[in-house]
Assembly symmetry: D2
Homo-oligomer: 342 residues x 4
Amino acid sequence: MIGIGVIGLGYWGPNIVRNIADCDGAQVVAASDLRSDRLAAIAARYPGVRTTADAANLIRDPRVDAVVIATPVSTHFELAMAALEAGKHVLVEKPLASSCEQGRRLIDAAATRRLVLMVGHTFVYTGAVRKIAALVRGGELGDLYYYDSVRVNLGVFQRDVNVIWDLAVHDLSIMDHVLPMWPSAVSATGMTHVAGRHENIAYLTLFFENRLIAHIHVSWLAPVKVRRTLIGGTRRMIVYDDLEPSEKIRVYDSGITVDSDPANVYELLVRYRAGDMWAPRLDATEALATEIAHFVDCVEHGARPITDGANGLRILQLVEAASESMASRGRLVEVAAPIAAI
Amino acid sequence: MIGIGVIGLGYWGPNIVRNIADCDGAQVVAASDLRSDRLAAIAARYPGVRTTADAANLIRDPRVDAVVIATPVSTHFELAMAALEAGKHVLVEKPLASSCEQGRRLIDAAATRRLVLMVGHTFVYTGAVRKIAALVRGGELGDLYYYDSVRVNLGVFQRDVNVIWDLAVHDLSIMDHVLPMWPSAVSATGMTHVAGRHENIAYLTLFFENRLIAHIHVSWLAPVKVRRTLIGGTRRMIVYDDLEPSEKIRVYDSGITVDSDPANVYELLVRYRAGDMWAPRLDATEALATEIAHFVDCVEHGARPITDGANGLRILQLVEAASESMASRGRLVEVAAPIAAI
Amino acid sequence: MIGIGVIGLGYWGPNIVRNIADCDGAQVVAASDLRSDRLAAIAARYPGVRTTADAANLIRDPRVDAVVIATPVSTHFELAMAALEAGKHVLVEKPLASSCEQGRRLIDAAATRRLVLMVGHTFVYTGAVRKIAALVRGGELGDLYYYDSVRVNLGVFQRDVNVIWDLAVHDLSIMDHVLPMWPSAVSATGMTHVAGRHENIAYLTLFFENRLIAHIHVSWLAPVKVRRTLIGGTRRMIVYDDLEPSEKIRVYDSGITVDSDPANVYELLVRYRAGDMWAPRLDATEALATEIAHFVDCVEHGARPITDGANGLRILQLVEAASESMASRGRLVEVAAPIAAI
Amino acid sequence: MIGIGVIGLGYWGPNIVRNIADCDGAQVVAASDLRSDRLAAIAARYPGVRTTADAANLIRDPRVDAVVIATPVSTHFELAMAALEAGKHVLVEKPLASSCEQGRRLIDAAATRRLVLMVGHTFVYTGAVRKIAALVRGGELGDLYYYDSVRVNLGVFQRDVNVIWDLAVHDLSIMDHVLPMWPSAVSATGMTHVAGRHENIAYLTLFFENRLIAHIHVSWLAPVKVRRTLIGGTRRMIVYDDLEPSEKIRVYDSGITVDSDPANVYELLVRYRAGDMWAPRLDATEALATEIAHFVDCVEHGARPITDGANGLRILQLVEAASESMASRGRLVEVAAPIAAI
């Protein structure tokens, strides 16, 4: 039985606690937050859980084998590093840290101590994204043309980070999981509508070595909620609408065909074809339950998580490059090759 | 009774002929196309119309007071110039011409001869866009935050122009009509998926002097058809979905409020509010009927059209700047002030 | 080349004229209507067509081999009978006539003279309904549980007939084409909201010999347009939404399974299963073009139409039985076996 | 502080426990269920709650002031009567009991002892239904034409009751709350698709003294989930779609106008008008929280609940009448005047 301590009991933390409580092979032994009302609520519901306002205290607790961190981004690095240095496995909410530099140091710290370091890119554990990854990586779409995602709503303006750090991290982690390629450059634009704040609207274009192009649109300032991704290939195209109650993924047997023009050998004929649509039944298990079970399993067997530190670092690379491009209104920023997993 | 000659009887031309036939104060006197089957079809349906394969011949016809041009883009300039030089009023399909330089010369030619020059930005004449323009220019949205448009489908790959010239022209002309400001710079990205062809996917970001930002996504390679524009302001936000059968425009009484944080005078509090939604009833008149009637009216009274040559030229400026930026993967391209109408 | 005369040039008649004009092997030789403006419009567009206000005159015209009747329901019988007695083949708009008695006499008249008698149940010729019929009759749904259809909108209140005669005729003819069974009884309810007028809302339940049940809801008084049919069977279920632009038919691999309860041999366990969904690509040919071509083909080869007189009569039987039940607020009315085709 | 005992911890019971726990002025003191795993789950989460497999024991508990019953329908009467006889206030899940006779006896028992008897018609406490009731009863729709509701999905086949008892109870209780009139007769049809089970599809038509007509369609055997109600009046019409995430209610300024025909004084002209649509912002409070707070408030102040015993009995009257009609395939069954609240 693995003992877990949860740091951060705001919006997401209580969901983590609940899913650990429902997970075989693990139990919540301690929980920490700066606000006493949140600690009291957890204590009332889970009387066996020790609560403390002092995260360092939780980390030191010998019954704690692993720590889950669900605090504001700016604290991720310090808390995760403290936990690793105390010999504890770590699952940290997305994004992994506030910079690539921090991410690299966490990966090193975990590797040195042979500890599990996992990042909570929860969408990767949904039935929908797992199905998309199977279809794309299984070649069902043929060669890839584009990946286009929109994630907008009327949402909380974060104080300390731009909207890329908050929303685009979801799309980048899904894209990284689904696509078998790595972008070579990014051009991003955006705007802030509140003086002194970071950008609340952003548009990212990612270029790849071949003809694949990706685009991500994120905003905290839309009157309607949209969560829609289009993925096109030579053979098929996918529409992934996360707000659909039951048919989140639609696979279209549509595309273009390119032939030589019989009338002109130097010309190509481009025709389009529209075929059947198919919506596969998806696993409806709560993604966080799958994620927690995977973390517990990795801790137990010393395995490398799907969303490991290297994965978290790749997303930080893209976020940093995109933010740099956005600051200069679309200037192309090269993306270095991903730091290889140790 | 104004006599009109129609050049180009492909997809759009027959609609123009039908709408002129139904318009009081005008009649189709001649029609021209290079394909004899198209001429025969018009002759069969409209026995009073003279048909000819020779556009020059139609332009010379003394019964022709005005010429409507619905041919491929590359021929717009030559045909329109010939008609103006022959003293005929001109309505040319969008885009006005193949370059700003051509557009300028058409404007000059029309001004010199005091002839009407109009461009067929048909969306400007829809009930939906007219309502949006009235709301935005009437201040109902407050100060403007953003204009975001998506126009994608599985469509015909044009041979000679990129997708900006084909699809984004619609969005740019709607945006130009609706917004009371002019962009100062553009950053665009895109991709071609057929060797030797122009870009079939494009993303445009337009910057304005204040905090307003616009973005347009166009593609010929999407499995589903999307025609959706979001417009956000300090007071209200609009969702314009052109595929909705009856409620194309939805006005949301939603947005953000920005206050000083009482706990910290140097900080701002950003809160969002979500209110009622309202879908105004729209004029359902066919846009092309309104456009043709407006053209006839301008010819009759010597008035300047809403979508005059200067309007057509402004759109060409934006298309050229965006294509230039796209060629260098998002490099910011300044947009000059619009050439003033003479 | 078959010469056709069209009687009735209101809403639907001009569509018929256009489709005959585009049909190989047939031509419109004459057209008739009581209103001179409608005759003038046809004459202007189709100069080769003879126009007359006198339908009898058109029927007598020796160049007329077949007559298409698109007039108000109350005139169907008299016009169709006159045409048959004059030795002309007949296509009459739905419904076939104003009563079963009239329908029977038309069938007899056509049979005696070996003439084609066809009724314009146009939906039967759509790509969607043809696909549904193929799926249902091919056994893809298994045994049938139910057929449920909603056809409501804000529409024109007919003067002389209730809403069953106007709208439910569409559903009954689709149902009759799709289902391999005949109902044994009907219970219908409805209401009129305008004094002195027939019912503008109606609900029909049709019972079959086995456990199959059908229900049809029609109304001229709904704020939104709905055209949706659910068809359920033991193996699969279909949702047919005629307002969907591209995916009108969705086939769900969903249903229930019924097993013996291992804990209680006298009890059955009912479980439901939800599987993939599939939207087949449909033939998008205009239904009226297919219908006209079929009529011309039947005339040419002396074949029996899919929607022959017997089909038209079956629908009249159901409409009369439903109207009788509705008049007594749901009283069950037996439906006689369909009159066999001669 | 009011002490509450909850009987029945299946699907709905834990939600009740959670909402009482979050409600000021009340606390859960005891919970009962026949299954020990359910008791254990509650005990783990709410350590202060006494759990017992013996409902009679819970009812006797002197700390229990009020009992909430969330057990199968067949047990409602016995448990509620026992609680009332023990002097406890009662909130019983819908439907109130298994028959009108039982409902009447519960009302009498509560009245005699001056105890609160409330039925859990939860939809009545949603923001959507409260807004609809305000609009309809405030006259915004004018005179009422129709109430039409569809509630279908692929759902659990109940063992002991037909689908009217399970699903139509929701629609009938909403209708009863929203409409200011009482139906005079009902005609219902339905079908069972599993041998030995009750009807799993049902259609109810309810007639009122004036021209108002209501219809309810319920099913456990549809491939898609639908929760849609149309309400039409002389001035406006409402579409209530409970599955819409944010715009559950749409109010259409649409309808018909009836004038005398100037050409024929004995005829009426019926025209339809389509106007703006408006979607009011709704209170998004969880309905069960509002319901529990209302129950606690009624207990505290001796007030009569909105969904009191008389309300529960009215719904039973309609369910019994509809089931009787369904058994004889649509035969009209008169509905007696509602038993007046004591």
